[in-house]
Assembly symmetry: C2
Homo-oligomer: 378 residues x 2
């Protein structure tokens, strides 16, 4: 009796620990990773894997696994019998223990493209992950139990089922958060696209500037938090163009001096538009500073060097690169290498040295075209 209570107590502690850990974030990839890590720990197995809905949300497929070598993973991915049994768990909403895959009827019929010695797993325990209303959100599998006897028991099954109830909630919450994030970003993208489309020469401009900006920031190893705000800021860097008359915005001929002055108001108009957004100070910087030059000859505030925000310095390069490599009236179109070298030539006058170097590295790696900081010294 005492031992039974002690065991029960131990299991509850495990469930509580897992539950707390997997709920500690809303980042979907991290939640998936924590679920696998904790399942391996709680059940004492070699590896764990997750079947989750694909991008259409209609089909479950192997989406995450832990504890396998790369070679085992490639064998696992083509192990049909294993996949079929796990999908059966989802359909029947009932857990399954397979303690010797080799003797399983479904497996016996399978023709393996690798030797039986290289079977990535022998035994596994697979439980359905259920949300409210009995809806399946995934399948959690632990495989190859360690120790002696190395078979999965009824008690293991009960433990993983209980864990499953808790990790399902964490999984659903993270999915809900990601869904909102995706809706948010896709809404901003479509609105930024609509602003770009006011000028036939800038179609798709904002999305490309976002992509280049994130690539530069990635090379600079900036924080995830910085990247999140940079994403918004770069998508919205030209939002102020909503407020520019389309006679000027879409003008094919060269702009007059007065028209240029009006056009150069777009960062200021942009600041006014986003200023009522919650936390707007993080978005404003990139919008306000993306036409400033480090030598103070930019606009609208003629800021110099350190006075220009990092967001502004990054978007400035991404923006210029996109403008040079797309068709624009009254300007020759550069090849991407020419554009990269042109940006490098304007280091320290127009562009920040640190950000320029990061841009050159990111450009060279992504395009497999040599445009490296070392070229600057020649």
């Amino acid at each position: 009796m005492n031992k039974m209570h002690k065991n029960a107590s131990k299991k509850l502690k495990i469930v509580l620990d897992v539950s707390k850990t997997v709920s500690s974030t809303l980042d979907l990839d991290t939640v998936n990773d924590l679920i696998l890590k904790k399942a391996i720990w709680a059940l004492g197995t070699d590896h764990a894997s997750l079947f989750l809905p694909d991008d259409s949300g209609k089909h479950l497929m192997l989406r995450a696994a832990k504890g396998f070598t790369k070679y085992e993973m490639s064998n696992l991915a083509i192990l049909e019998s294993w996949e079929r049994i796990n999908l059966q768990v989802a359909r029947s909403k009932k857990p399954i223990i397979v303690n010797n895959l080799k003797s399983h009827a479904i497996f016996k019929k399978e023709k393996l493209p690798f030797s039986k010695k290289e079977l990535p797993l022998n035994s596994f325990l697979s439980v359905p992950l259920m949300a409210k209303k009995n809806q399946i959100v995934g399948v959690l599998i632990v495989s190859n139990k360690k120790g002696h006897p190395n078979i999965f028991t009824k008690s293991d099954k009960e433990l993983l089922m209980t864990l499953g109830n808790h990790v399902s909630i964490a999984l659903l919450n993270a999915k809900l958060y990601k869904g909102l994030e995706d809706l948010f970003i896709s809404t901003i993208k479509s609105l930024a696209n609509a602003v770009d489309a006011k000028d036939p020469y800038t179609r798709g401009h904002s999305e490309r500037v976002m992509r280049y900006s994130l690539a530069i920031a990635g090379k600079m190893e900036l924080s995830e938090d910085f990247m999140k705000w940079l994403k918004l800021s770069s998508l919205l860097h030209d939002v102020g163009k909503i407020g520019i008359k389309d006679a000027i915005l879409g003008k094919e001929a060269k702009l007059s001096m007065d028209e240029v002055k009006i056009m150069q108001q777009h960062p200021i108009i942009g600041i006014n538009i986003v200023s009522s957004i919650i936390g707007s100070e993080r978005i404003v910087r990139g919008i306000s500073d993306h036409h400033e030059w480090v030598n103070g000859k930019g606009y609208p505030k003629k800021l110099t060097g350190d006075k220009i925000s990092l967001e502004g310095k990054i978007i400035a390069i991404a923006d210029t690169f996109d403008a040079m490599t797309t068709n624009r009236p009254y300007q020759k179109k550069f090849t991407s290498k020419e554009a990269c070298l042109e940006i490098a030539r304007n280091i320290n006058t127009q562009f920040s040295p640190e950000v320029t170097r990061a841009f050159m590295r990111s450009f060279s790696e992504e395009n497999h075209i040599w445009c490296m900081p070392s070229d600057l010294n020649r």
Copy 2:
């Protein structure tokens, strides 16, 4: 020993139950409510309350309570000694048990504006809610323990501390979700405002249409999910105006027939803009249908009755009401009552009867001006 394990087991089960329940949603108000409900249940008390950050996020204050009568709540809200002790819990990050408030030094100094008999609580247990990095996210209090002896013990304190660790995570996740929701809506609002501002006569129009639309939907008791999408759809109902030349959009003089035709393209342009948004079908309906008439004389598709989406029917009334009650060129400004009655007069030709009635009820209640469905029969 056996009893100890049994008790430990029982407590773990309680914690597990509470943890699962409070994580089951990301809606902040619901999470707060579940925390209070479960704390009362787990500790066996009369009531529970939560100190949470105010809107500035800088100060903790009593934000939610459960189990008190209205009268007790009003006394609780002015019970200074209780507030001071709870804020001390937040500052010191240490739990406090007060088993007899009347004998507490801080209380003794307090001058009560009500009789001591009406003290809303005698005893309480207050624990700090902590997030990662020891950051305080709130204070959870249970008060008036039931049963005998009705005092809070060390064991109660340990239980509520453990519960606190789990509910803090749920609270933080719900706050994170709400933060993203608020950022999303405020971003869409500022962009909708920027589109409205292209025409000096439509400043603030989209936000008002959103408010009226939600009021109508509220009266129709539509689902929360419907309301969430209606919020987006109504904010973006005129987004297609980004694509209309500002010579037409801002024209003071009467539009020519050709210009009217161009202007009437804005729902179609709007659909194109939002069509790449994830889940856009839910947003599209209100944008595409908000100028349709139930008799088929609207635009752009000349849909009739049931063919018009509910979102479109709701936004149509909200949109017309705002246009009538704000200054517009070439149209007299109506008082709000005149506008309401004018909408009522167009029931069954321009507007859906069901939605018109809901609008009239919502208008009458919010403005305390009589414009009721019964007027329609006169």
